[in-house]
Structures are given as C-alpha cells and as structure tokens.
Amino acid sequence: MELEKYFRIEKLPHIWCPGCGHGSVMMSIVKGIDKAGWDPTKVVVVSGIGCSSRAPGYMNFNTLHTVHGRPIAFATGIKLANPELKVIVITGDGDGAAIGGNHLIHACRRNIGINVVLFNNQIYGMTSGQYSPMTPQGSMATTSPYGNIEPPFDLCELTRSAGANFVARGTVYHLPKLDNYMEKAFAREGFSYVEAISQCPTYYGRRNKLRSPLEMLEWQKKNAVDIKKAQDMDPEELKGKIVTGIFAEKDEEEYTSKYDQLISSVQGGKK
C-alpha cells in the first residue's frame, strides 16, 4: 500500500505485545506525515526510552533513539540547528510525563516547532508494569500493589497552559479522530502536543480487570468524553473519564523563526 514507503518493512514484526495500541498510533503519525506532504529525508523522528520509543526504528526517516526522558531536549537541538527539518518526538507517559516532564513544559514555553506525540498506555511497559504519573488513581501496578494513590497528570491542560500552539488528546479506539489531530498538529507552526491513549493489555489490563485488548478498547470507548461535552459536566461526573478533543489551537510565533530574526538583526546591526 501507499504508506509502506514510510516504514522499514524489513524490521517488522515489531516488538510490541499482541493487542498493544502502539502500532495504531505509529500508523496515525505516518498518515499525518503523508497528509502533510513532508519530504521524508527532511523528517527526523526522535524518541526516548520505553515501549513507544521503539517506534522510530520501524519508520523510514532520520530516526534517533536517545536516552530516557530527554528526546525533546535532543529535538530542540536538532530543530534549532536546522529549522528546515520537520522534527517529531515520540514519547510515552513515563518518558514524557515523569523523567522528561521539565523538557516538555520548556519546549511548550519556547513554542519551538517540534511535534510531540505521547503514547499514553498509563503504565511503564518496558520495565514490566510499574505505575506512571499518568496511571489512573486506584489502579494496580507492580509498584502499587495496594492500588495507586497518586492522581494522574493531565498533560493537555499542562501543555496548553505552558504555551503550546496545538494540543489534542485522542484514543486508539477513536482512530479517525486521532488521525485528524495528527494532521492538524503537523500543519501548524510552533510546538504541538498530541496525546494518544493507547492500551497495554500485558501490564495494565491484566492487573486491572480488563482481561483482553478488546475490553481495554471498550474502556476507551466508554470513558472518552468530548471536550465540548466535558465543559458542561461537573468534576464529579468527569472523574475517571478521558477528555478528548482539541485543547489549544494558536498561532504564536515559533521559536526558531524568532532566532533567525535575531541573527538578521544582530548581523544587520554590525554592518
């Protein structure tokens, strides 16, 4: 099929477990790149460490698998060095919300032209099921054997407040919507954050009475609430729900274009 050229077919099958949602999110990114019409040789896909961060290995672009939590910082260097490059960061809820949280908010603040896609499977999968900052309260995990007492992070609210030009959340169940968010994110200048709720049947589902990938997808279907509908719901009703939709769409000036102007004015001033 048409999109095959964006994959390193010889590297498949992928390492993800049967029923994992990550393949669907990866496909959604590739569809977004195709829609954007980007030259694949100008696309750089950067990831950190974790299950989601293995995706770039299967994608036929310039791909960089870095260290845990820092892909956005690497991507910042790449984008600033060469603003012509289209830079996508693939991260997860551990990589992006825990160890890498600081880089995420500062990249939003700078509004640098990086497209972050966070695969949120609500658990540390690669290390076999510890709770993450995005694990729902009350969930069971190997490091919360009596139930997780920490509330989860809402990174859409965070990235919107921190200054991202585009913010959206979708789910693997509602794939066409997720495709639409990718398309919009990649079309916009400046920093974008798209969160994709994915499922981990192996380390999240089994411990949390979601016995099959199908049950997990049904959980996404049942709990997803559109952002417009959510505005009319009270906090009690919204407990445990996933608010989906577009959280921010702005046109604030992008960081590297500001830096290029700075160079011009400094060099102009000298002459």
Partner: protein
C-alpha cells in the same frame, strides 16, 4: 584575554556554530560569550532548562550537522554524564568544557580544584574511551579548545576540555596564532549513495564511519543500544565486542599523535615534576626555584591527560630517582604515574584540595635536597 573567553575564541575559530548550556559558576562567561558571538556568525545559542537538556541539545545539533559545544562545572558535569556516554556510543562529535570547582557536591563554586580528573575519565557508565585536554594558560585554553573541536570531528567522539577555576578566570596577554595557520577538521562525509549507506559500515583504515547531517538525504537509525553496521540494535556477542573494541581502537590507533605536553630542563635531571592545569604554573615556579638552587630537576606539563600519556611519562621518567606529581586533589593522576612506574621509582604527591591554588613551596617540599 580571560581563560573562559579564550575557550570560546578557540571553539569559534575551529568552526563551532552551536552552543547549548545552563548557567553555572565558574563557567558562565563561556555561555555569555557564546550568546553574544554566535548570532554574529549565524550560529545558534540556547540556554536550556537544565544541564542534561543542554548536553542533549548539543548532541542533537551535532547530528543536524553543526559543531556543537557546552560548558559546565562539577555539579553540571555530573548531570551530563549519561549523555556524554550516549554521544560516545553513537559517535556524535561534541565538546564539553568543564571549568572545575572544588567538590564534592556544591563544594566551593569559585575556588580552583582538579577533582574531576577521574570523572572526566570514568564519569559515564560503561567501558568507554575518553579524550581529555587540560590547559594551563590562557593561550593553552585557546589552542586546546580549537584542538578539542577538531578531534571531536575527526574521531567522532565527545572531547572534554578540563579547565579549572584559576585558568577559567585568569587574565593574561596572549598572542593567538594566525588564522591561516590553523587547520580545521571536519567530520567525514559518505562517498556512496543514500540507498547503499550504512551508518556504521567501517570502510576506512581509521575505523571512523562518515556522518552525514540530518536532511542531506541519508536516512538512518541511531541508538544508544549496541548496534551493528546498519545502526540497528543487536545483542549478538560478536557485534557488541566489535563495536566496543572499535570505539577504543579508533582513538588508541592515533594515541601518540594525541599526546600534547611540554618539557623543561630534562637534560641531566635526576628528579622530575609532573603536573597539569593550573597546578602546572606552580610546578613551573617550583622547578625554576629548584634549578636556581642547583638541583637537577626536570618538568613535564601534560596537556592531554586522557588517554594517559603512558609512553611519554615512561620515556621522561624512567631514569629519575624521584618523581613528584603536583595536582589540586587528593591524588588522582598520581595513580596513573605510579602504575606506569610500577614501584621502580618513588612517586610522591604534592597535593592540595582546600580550594586554594597549590603553591611552589608545597611542590618544592617533595623534592630531594631542597634544604
């Protein structure tokens, strides 16, 4: 010119176009100077949110084709270690300037020390090689900074420029070499087509693979996992062995050209002082005083400390009956000298680790026949 400023000048003359850093004493002048000068030459400066992010941005910029530098001091150097190792593993050229302060921990932010000698060698985990240069004057800071950038490019490796607070903040007159006398090194570019390109295919005798910048049409995968010539992960023992050995060999092979040092008064000397960095200035004063007293003392100032210049130290030291190693720590490089001398010759340490510059008197006291 100040030492920190000379580092910036040397790096710019070597073609550096990118700096990412985080403020930390006593290295901040380096960041400030790059912030002012880089945009003038079309380069980029960014102050990142932390030390780790600075190191990551430098490696990212390097892969995008820039010559990239960061600077820091002890606490920041500790934070950067993981990504220094990553840069070594993926072979991303970059330079880390560490203006040492007295440690451990926050220590003495504005006091000189040489406590990071072993950290510069072994700070990042795993069995990696290291290339570390130590200036002992402002002129050295310029030349070694230039050299560090060149070697990073040529060997595709992180290079550490290990200053100390004294040299970083020292102001002295320097005569810089003419720019047309300085030879700039650039990373190798692939000869073949993007279709046949394998990022870690070793085609040349120097064991160093070419590195095309992102966006040039060569698409490839890069990972800090052990990888084969295609750049993709592998845990086959023959692949991991081959990669680790090559990372060492590509530097070891040229080791002798990497040893930078100065010697003074070696002829007829029966005692030897070995030093580096700011300590070498006190060592030189001690050597002069000893000579005036009629003692037959020689002086070896090391500029390259890692890889340790074993051959040079052996050659210069083997016929002496007393070797004094002067350094501002509780004894770090002395261990290497002792190892090389293998108990054949007594090796004494002139050491100071209280945040005060080591004095010539302290070094003299370790020589024989001073009084």
């Amino acid at each position: 010119m100040q030492g920190n400023e000379a580092c910036v000048e040397g790096a710019l003359d070597a073609g550096v176009t990118f700096y990412a850093g985080y403020p930390i004493t006593p290295s901040s002048e380096i960041a400030e100077d790059f912030a002012a000068k880089l945009p003038r030459v079309g380069g980029k400066f960014i102050q990142m949110e932390d030390e780790i992010a600075s190191m990551a941005a430098v490696v990212g910029a390097s892969l995008a084709g820039e010559k990239a530098v960061t600077a820091t001091s002890g606490p920041g150097f500790s934070l950067k270690q993981e990504i220094i190792g990553f840069a070594g593993m993926i072979e991303a050229p970059c330079v880390v300037m560490n203006v040492q302060r007295a440690g451990p921990s926050t220590g003495l932010p504005t006091s000189p020390a040489q406590g990071d000698v072993m950290q510069a060698r072994w700070g990042t985990h795993g069995d990696h090689p290291a290339l570390v240069l130590c200036p002992s004057s402002v002129a050295d800071a310029y030349l070694l900074s230039f050299q560090a950038v060149n070697w990073a490019e040529r060997f595709r490796t992180p290079v550490i420029l290990l200053l100390d607070e004294t040299i970083g903040h020292l102001r002295e007159r320097v005569i810089l070499p003419r720019k047309d006398e300085m030879v700039i090194a650039n990373r190798k570019q692939p000869q073949g087509s993007p279709e046949s390109f394998q990022p870690y295919d070793i085609l040349d005798e120097d064991l160093i693979p070419p590195l095309p910048p992102y966006g040039s049409g060569f698409r490839f995968h890069t990972t800090g996992l052990y990888h084969d010539e295609t750049g993709f992960p592998s845990n086959r023992p023959e692949v991991t062995h081959r990669l680790l050995e090559r990372l060492h060999q590509k530097i070891d092979k040229y080791k002798e050209t990497l040893f930078l040092y100065e010697t003074y008064g070696l002829r007829q000397a029966n005692q030897l002082i070995i030093s580096y960095g700011a300590s070498a200035r006190s060592a030189k004063a001690a050597w002069r005083i000893a000579r005036e007293k009629g003692l037959l003392v020689g002086l070896l100032i090391l500029k390259t400390i890692w890889p340790f210049p074993e051959e040079i130290v052996t050659q210069v030291g083997h016929d002496k009956n007393n070797i004094v190693v002067a350094e501002m720590n509780r004894g770090q490089l002395i261990g290497e000298v002792e190892r090389v001398m293998d108990k054949r010759i007594p090796v004494r340490g002139a050491q100071r680790a209280d945040g005060v510059l080591i004095t010539p008197e302290q070094i003299l006291a370790k020589l024989e026949g001073v009084n």
